[in-house]
Symmetry: C2
Subunit: 308 residues, 2 copies
């Protein structure tokens, strides 16, 4: 199908998503192998495969498309590796986060959590091994990725996952239970806990796609607003959705007395805030002047409208 | 002091070690900062600083000296980063390994373990953040390391830490409690659990020091024998040393009904086996033809004679 005025093909997000998800699922399944010492690959695969919306991998692949790489085939291969790497970091964080000493949750993506299914020790080790595997994927053995890109992606991922990113955000989250946070404090927590990896997904994809420096600044703004909007919507869903729709235990923020955007601002103001943030994300894309941002726009819409 | 025949300075291992440890401790202290969200830096520093023999960092620095890098200053800087990176992986593995769902140990390096001191959730997150930091160190922000070296080190470290390295070895260890392993199975477990990271320490150092391909093959043999000897000696010490000397709970292998080289071979045969392995490590160094292997020889002696 093509646009009647421009003659260019119309962007079909459903088709794009199905295509990219096929690529990501196949890559994840081949890289997270069952063949492993003491069956450690089984909890790793259980944690990673057949579940999840794959928002982070889709952001990587969408951002890579916005660039103009000298070698598009190599760029897509690199972006696929980066997409899987961010998903492995996300998956490991869920495994550890669900453990009894953290959130103590038994249900994730509609299935028993990894420690319920395989025991705590296996869950701990599987999470640890998934983090290592994420970095391994970024440096292919066959030298098919430019070393400069591999090194840059490793650094971006390490920063997003570490003490000044996701792990630090989770530490704030733990320390905040039962406390009254200001909106600034709450946003700081989420900027680290979920925002850093979402933002890194965009920037790692952009690096794979050779996005220009000017474009990178706008994509960074996009990633920042999108990351925060994601969390605001997450807090809203925890209140309005039921456990079956979510695939994880609903209402647990309130039950755990966790500060959320809804508890801080009220439901309606939180919904308006999510809209404002997503508008800013769209505006950053428009201002970037980058050619192919259809998928990034559509992913922002997806974050706004997601039902789980 | 110089050798009366050659006129070259005599290698003084104690002086070398003191010098290198000073470098490593300073680097670790500056890179693992207390300045962090929700004080997560505190358990991280507690896990890493003021303790440990630093065998892995010393192996990195010793192996780097065996090469002939074009830029010795840059090589030393890279080796220092690699030395700290392997130590962070080692430190995080101890934190997670000590947790109640794994070995449930309360004493490490003569101090309460991290989860005893800071709680399980902080221990879990601190370990996770230390792993990420290890990779961050390998890609300096200022671009002071060649990207090809950064990428290579990231891959070596990821492989050594992951499912086909340390994490996989720990999974075998857990699965082996109460089982009778053959010597081959026991060696496979240790090759992954401790051997992979010790071997990677040697090979990462060699990469920093630009050791020739021919030299690398011999260093790999050295690392393999040294890694296994380390574990045989560890099993011996668990039987013959007391808790105070070890700085960790002695006799726990037997208590946990874990297979060891001593339980498999008997004490005397295990001691002979350690000697054989270390002789092979020395022989590999001699065969390498590399110029500066004094420190690597001395580290093999240290492994053989260590009292804790």
């Amino acid at each position: 199908m093509s646009d009647s005025q421009t003659g260019l093909p119309v962007f079909d997000f459903n088709h794009w998503t199905a295509h990219q998800l096929g690529r990501v699922e196949m890559a994840l399944s081949s890289w997270v192998t069952a063949d492993s010492p003491a069956d450690l690959g089984h909890p790793m695969r259980y944690a990673v495969l057949d579940g999840g919306k794959r928002l982070r991998p889709l952001l990587v692949l969408a951002a890579a498309e916005a660039g103009q790489p000298a070698d598009p085939v190599a760029a897509l291969e690199a972006a696929t590796r980066a997409a899987c790497a961010v998903e492995l970091i996300h998956a490991y964080s869920l495994v550890h986060d669900d453990m009894p000493c953290m959130d103590n949750d038994v249900l994730r993506r509609g299935k028993p959590t990894v420690h319920v299914q395989f025991g705590e020790a296996q869950a701990l080790l599987a999470g640890d091994a998934l983090q290592a595997l994420a970095f391994e994927l970024l440096v292919p053995e066959d030298g098919s990725m430019a070393a400069a890109l591999s090194a840059q992606l490793c650094r971006q991922l390490a920063l997003a996952a570490g003490v000044h990113g996701m792990a630090g955000g989770q530490a704030i989250d733990l320390a905040s239970i039962g406390l009254r946070l200001t909106q600034t404090q709450l946003e700081q927590m989420h900027r680290l806990k979920t925002g850093a990896l979402l933002q890194a997904s965009v920037m790692m994809g952009a690096a794979c796609g050779d996005v220009s420096a000017a474009g990178l600044a706008h994509l960074s703004t996009y990633g920042q607003h999108l990351g925060l909007a994601f969390q605001v919507v997450d807090d809203i869903l925890d209140v309005v959705a039921d456990t079956q729709t979510l695939g994880k235990t609903a209402g647990k923020d309130a039950e755990h007395d966790k500060p959320t955007f809804v508890s801080l601002m009220g439901l309606q103001a939180a919904q308006s805030y999510a809209t404002v943030l997503l508008d800013k994300a769209h505006a950053a894309l428009a201002a970037s002047g980058l050619p192919r941002t259809h998928a990034l726009h559509a992913l922002a819409d997806l974050v706004g409208g997601r039902t789980h």
